[in-house]
Symmetry: C2
Subunit: 190 residues, 2 copies
């Protein structure tokens, strides 16, 4: 029997595809092994069990998200930067729902995950500088923005919006609320 030629990277990649198709809970070692043409125990040579696999998915997702946001914000400032980052954030989550869920559900904070999270925060902080915010108030505002984007995307991907109302417009409303919210808070403290 020829070897499948797996690596940790190819296993995690396949798991990501599985997560985007069947949801994060649909990622089982049995199904993943089936897709890779291998028996479940063989995966343990590349990944240390299901929790480790989930952590790796989360780290990969965080890194991709951070890179996406950095690229989106490049060369922009103020409202334009905020809007670009927000839409890039949402686009990533919609395109990779499984990875996004994984990245949210991580409890084990590895160094790589922390590093990716730091990059995301850095991008938002750079945007906030355009609103005259820095220091501790900027950190609080970062949390607020992150919360809003995260919540919206989660509700949207998990079909939490009951009403038949265009999500695009709702998202635009959210972004402009954040924009004027930042001007209100920033204007008071800057």
């Amino acid at each position: 029997m020829p070897r499948a030629g797996l690596t940790t990277d190819s296993v995690v990649t396949a798991a990501g595809e599985l997560a985007d198709e069947h949801g994060l809970d649909g990622v089982t070692l049995a199904r993943l092994a089936g897709r890779l043409g291998v028996r479940p125990p063989s995966l343990y040579a590349h990944v240390d069990g299901l929790p480790d696999l989930r952590t790796r998915l989360a780290v990969r997702g965080a890194e991709q998200l951070a890179a996406t946001l950095q690229a989106a914000a490049a060369g922009l400032a103020g409202s334009q930067a905020l809007s670009a980052v927000a839409h890039a954030y949402r686009a990533y989550a919609l395109a990779h729902p499984g990875s996004y869920t994984a990245l949210q559900r991580t409890t084990s904070n590895t160094d790589e995950a922390a590093e990716a999270a730091r990059r995301v925060v850095a991008v938002v902080l750079a945007v906030l500088a355009g609103y005259g915010l820095d220091g501790e108030p900027a950190l609080h505002a970062t949390r607020a923005i992150r919360s809003a984007l995260h919540g919206f995307v989660l509700l949207e991907t998990q079909h939490g919006f009951g009403l038949p109302l265009a999500p695009d417009e709702s998202f635009t409303t959210l972004v402009s609320m954040l924009d004027s919210g930042l001007r209100g808070v920033g204007g008071a403290s800057a």
Copy 2:
């Protein structure tokens, strides 16, 4: 052997406690049966398996949340109402993390779940009326508010905030951003 005297209600209540202690994924029929002094199959007399139990947890959580928000908003308007609702929302999620997770993850939309969701939306819409918002813009704003609260609470309960920064202040920042965001959007369209 004396009977345990279970009812559907007592089973769901115990499951809610379990969810708040061990997380929603920690709610297994085996563990639940152990807590109730009963064998796992006995639970099927009161609940139709694990998915049904999760749905019931979600419905109960949604009803409790709606009632909490209604009580918090009573007699208030404008910024005060917004702040009261927001803080009540966060307090409920922090006090009942398991139920809150369940209420978020529901995919099966029963009539009761829809009704509870409708009540939550109604409370927020009433608050928005104080900002001069109604109709479709109010619905979009409702989604925005819900997203922000939901995202914050999720990040907080799942320890998504890496930095050692007081969450209370971050939340206050979020609420005031929403407040000025609503004034910005509301003033433009009302």
